[in-house]
Structures are given as C-alpha cells and as structure tokens.
Subunit: 149 residues, 2 copies
C-alpha cells in the first residue's frame, strides 16, 4: 500500500493519542497534555468537536492531522482551523506533509471555507519554512491570548 | 432597562453586521469585509457556525460578541474561541466590556471548555491592556498563519 490519507475511525483513537504525545514532546509541552484516548474518542466521534485524518504508509502510521472550524465575521463564513499536522521524524522529507496539507486545502475549499488558519511556534523553523512553501501568510501582528480554567 | 447581554436572534443580523463594520473600521480592515447581514444570518442561525451576543443599554445597541468553538488536542476538549468583542466608542469606560468578558468566561466554563482563546492586534494597546486585566496570558510565540482561497 502506498501513502494513504484517510478519515480516522473510532478504533484509531489510541494510535492518534500516541502521535499527539509524540508531537507534544517535539513542542516541549508534554506537561500540557491531559487528553487520553478516551477523551479524544469522545470529542471526535461523539461530540464532533473536531475531525481527524490518519496518514499511513504500507499500513503503518506515518502521522495525523486534526482540524476544526472557526468563524470569520469579516468573511461571514466558517474557516478551516488546523489544530495539528504531524509527520513522524522517520517519515519526513518524502512529501507526506505536503500531500496532507494539499488534502486539507482541498477539504477546506470543498466545505466552502474562505480561508484556512493555524498557529506555529516561532522557534519551529522547519515548520515555518514548510508553511511558507505552501503559500501561507504569517500574521505575527495578531497576538494569541488565552485564559485556562 | 439597564445594561443587558442577550443571545442574538435572527432579526439582529443587520444590526450586528453594522457593528462588525464599525469594528472593521477601527481595525483598519474595511477592505476585508465581504460578509453581509444575509450571510451572517445564515452562518449563525442556519449553519450554527458561531454564536452571537448583543449588548444593549436602555434598548440601544452598545456592542456585540461573536464566538465559536475550537479544539485542543492536548486538552482533548473544545475551547471557546472569541472571534469578536466590541463595545461602541461612546459606551466605553463603563464596565460593559468587562461584564461581557466575564459572561463569556462563565459561558465557556458552563460548556466544559478547558480554555478560552482569541487574537488581538499588537498595536491595539487599550485592548491588550484590557485582556491583561481580565487575567489573560499573551502568547506571541504562537504565530498565526493563514491561506485565503
């Protein structure tokens, strides 16, 4: 089987959770992860708070993407918000990230989204460069704010 | 009637659209507004892409807020994402923004959200200061990226 992008199914939750933990390690944020395979499964498959894609090569997990929909009052439409896109280190440099990103762009357009947005850590140079290559505009003038409960 | 915060109803769409245009003027982004009262009404009341609050004083429109829900893979839950909070200039300095923000925080907690997020322009000092006073953490290390279709 070649490289494949498919919608995640319920049984993928433990695998995706393992990949989320790998990404958190890369982002130096493991202390922020409180999700479990069970909460992830409930969020995606019961409450439909987000959608997930699983990336595979010869049936092996290569990475994942999770996205939801935000809203632009200026555009008056929902946009696709990419929460995570992750390719495991040993599978990088083979175009899987590009293929996944193009898939997401097509999905956003298919859903009628006027735009696609995401955030990237300012020290993550390989990703910043990847997004630039994908035609993204960086908007550092918009400062993310957060309150945790 | 005192200051009131209420869920917007279908008939409020033209009024909210007028307030969105006021905000766009303040943010120097009028050229980015393509929404109309009709598209806004369809997004909020037909497709439920976002929810809106109308702020009134003695029945007069004081401002509005529009929010949707994003998703945190680390938390494994949807968070409240505040797209817009706007108080008209002539009504500022009277605590209406604070009351609205507290209302939104309570709403996020009522919905089980682990966090509330939004973005703010880096030159908008009054708003940056307001959010700091509300207990928000600014996260400039997360750089917003966008592709428009």
């Amino acid at each position: 089987m070649p490289f494949e992008i498919r919608a995640a199914v319920r049984g993928d939750a433990p695998l995706i959770m393992a990949l989320i933990n790998e990404l958190a390690e890369y982002e130096k944020m493991t202390d922020m992860v409180t999700a479990t395979a069970e909460t992830l499964e409930a969020s995606i498959f019961d409450r439909h708070e987000a959608e997930a894609l699983l990336l595979t090569l010869d049936g092996e997990a290569v990475g994942y993407a999770i996205y939801c929909f935000n809203f632009s009052t200026f555009k008056g439409r929902a946009g696709l918000y990419l929460e995570d896109i992750y390719v495991r280190p040993q599978y990088r440099g083979r175009g899987f990230g590009t293929k996944t990103f193009e898939y997401l762009k097509a999905e956003a357009q298919r859903r009628g989204c006027p735009r696609m947005e995401w955030v990237c850590l300012d020290w993550n140079s390989p990703s910043l460069e990847f997004y630039r290559g994908m035609g993204a505009e960086a908007l550092p003038q918009w400062v993310l704010h957060r309150i945790e409960f």
